[in-house]
């Protein structure tokens, strides 16, 4: 069954169509990769799905409901969470409180503050932030802030998780750990759309890949097909094949 269905989605900034007539679906339990050169509209698609931007045309349905035009917090409550390309934890709050916010709001909130805190601590253990619990989020290093943002997103108990370049800035070992971690997240029943430039890592975990170029969808398929698609190689993957 389709968890997310994007139909004829378009968004313009002035004369520029950042996203132009894009349609794709994401099945329940799938990990779908969203790739393309810089400026191809990947992040804009995320902004549209999460309600931070409003589409000029097209519809977004999630779990059988039309959510086009919903406010960001309503979309979060319906079970969609995301991370930002440039990380945005709550800088003045502690790591623990950051995750507690996710747990207290999101799609299903914990019953009490005690439960909120306990579950937030568990998520921090899971994402390797145990010893950073009382650190101020704004003072953490980039890797920890990335982990924190992921923990905060997971704390909202999403059914659909949108990840915007979580691998950027990680070393190969950390990347492998992240891939493994995301696989366990998927196995716990979370569907994902992953925007990523680190193609190797992406292909190792995605079921399907959607390729954007200049705001339009130019290809869609399983990773093996995409890596052989001539147009995709021409506009984006060229270097990857030789690397």
């Amino acid at each position: 069954m389709d968890l997310l269905k994007v139909e004829n989605l378009s968004k313009s900034f002035g004369a520029l169509w950042a996203v132009n007539n894009v349609s794709f679906t994401v099945g329940e339990g799938e990990i779908v990769g969203l790739i393309g050169p810089n400026g191809s509209g990947k992040s804009t698609v995320f902004q549209l799905i999460t309600g931070l931007l409003r589409a000029n045309r097209g519809t977004i349905s999630y779990d059988g409901k039309d959510i086009t035009g919903f406010k960001p917090y309503q979309i979060s409550r319906s079970g969609i969470a995301r991370t930002f390309q440039i990380v945005r934890p709550f800088p003045e709050m502690t790591t623990l409180k950051n995750v507690m916010v996710g747990r207290a709001f999101g799609s299903s909130s914990a019953r009490s503050m005690k439960e909120t805190e306990d579950e937030a601590r568990r998520l921090l253990d899971l994402t390797g932030l145990t010893d950073k619990v009382s650190a101020t989020a704004g003072h953490l290093g980039l890797i920890y802030r990335k982990k924190l943002e992921l923990a905060r997103a997971l704390a909202t108990k999403p059914k659909l998780l949108l990840l915007d370049e979580v691998m950027a800035g990680l070393n190969p070992t950390e990347m492998m750990e992240t891939v493994e971690f995301l696989k366990t997240v998927r196995n716990s029943g979370v569907t994902m759309i992953v925007v990523e430039h680190v193609i190797k890592a992406l292909f190792s975990m995605t079921d399907r890949v959607v390729v954007l170029n200049a705001g339009e969808k130019i290809a869609e398929g399983i990773p093996q097909e995409i890596s052989r698609n001539e147009e995709v190689i021409k506009v984006y993957l060229g270097d990857y094949e030789h690397a």
């Binding site: 917090y73 979060s76 409550r77 945005r88 709550f90 916010v101 704390a155």
Partner: protein, 313 residues
């Protein structure tokens, strides 16, 4: 948890001790100083829940303080029981907050600050024009005037305000407020209806500012009607919160104690120049101690550690 329990015990002891003061102390001067401290704690903590915890800078606190004073005074002098008058003052302030908050808090950025400052200026001018004179207490109230009931009114308002703010900021609502302050978009992305939490903070803030205004109206035998609307009441709570420690619960309490005592000292020795001194202290605080007195120990530790390192090398 143990820390929190200790805090409760200390708070209870302090409140009981303050409640017993009138039995032990007879000097009116001590009462009026304590009344002023209670008033400023209430006013600055009410500013803090909106400005410090939720990130919405209200530059027009005088409007909310003033309308609380105005409504309470008018009703009380007209014969309404005092406790009802003061509640009406708090509620008038809340109604004003709803009228301003509905449009201004929908927007992000500086609109709210500018809007509240405009409202305070308009309120001061309007009240000054409509009621240019002095509000005198009727003779029957003057005859029974005593500082002791005033002392208890200010104490009760302060304790209620502190309890309300403490409970709120340590609840799920508080998480929503702090998330809103730190990053509105990111807060919405985890399901926080940021407008709702800004509004809740504003309503709590205005209610207690209005009650403090009611206390002012009860305390003063005579004053110009526009006096509680003057811009001084806008700047003082901000000054106190930043000197004490913005976004912390203890900050406004410490800030108020320091402010009232120093103001008293300076007013005796320097007269009007004391405003200048507080202005300078405010600027220095923002520049060098953004976390205020509360952040001072950590800041000093950091400074000494740095110096220690240099010597070590």
């Amino acid at each position: 948890m143990a820390e929190r329990k200790k805090g409760f015990v200390v708070a209870a002891v302090v409140v009981i001790a303050l409640a017993l003061v009138p039995l032990v102390v007879a000097r009116e001067y001590v009462f009026s100083i304590l009344c002023m401290i209670f008033l400023y704690v209430t006013l600055s903590q009410s500013w803090n829940i909106l400005g410090g915890y939720t990130g919405q800078i209200n530059v027009g606190q005088a409007a909310f303080f003033g309308i609380g004073a105005l409504a309470a005074r008018l009703l009380w002098v007209a014969g309404v029981p005092f406790y009802l008058s003061i509640l009406a003052g708090g509620l008038s302030s809340v109604i004003l907050a709803i009228i301003i908050g509905l449009p201004a808090l929908k927007l992000r950025g500086h609109y709210f600050a500018i809007g509240t400052l405009a409202v305070a200026s308009i309120a001061q001018i309007t009240v000054g024009n409509i009621l240019p004179g002095i509000s005198f207490l009727p003779a029957q109230h003057m005859a029974t005037y005593s500082l002791i009931p005033r002392y208890y009114v200010f104490l009760i308002i302060m304790v209620t305000a502190l309890a309300a703010v403490y409970i709120t900021v340590n609840s799920r609502i508080g998480l929503g407020m702090e998330a809103t302050r730190d990053d509105e978009e990111a807060a919405q992305m985890v399901g926080v209806n940021t407008f709702k939490y800004k509004m809740i903070a504003f309503l709590i803030s205005s209610f207690f500012a209005g009650l403090a205004g009611g206390g002012f109206a009860y305390f003063n035998a005579s004053y110009y009607w526009y006096l509680p609307f003057t811009l001084m009441w806008c700047f003082e709570p901000i000054l106190i919160v930043f000197i004490g420690g913005v976004g912390s619960f203890i900050g406004p309490i410490i800030g108020s104690v320091c402010y009232v005592l120093l103001k008293e000292l300076f007013a005796l020795t320097l007269g009007e120049a004391n405003l200048l001194i507080f202005g300078i202290v405010f600027i220095l605080t923002i520049l060098f101690f953004p976390k205020g007195i509360i952040g001072l120990p950590a800041k000093l530790r950091q400074l000494f550690r740095r110096r220690g390192n240099v010597v070590g090398r």
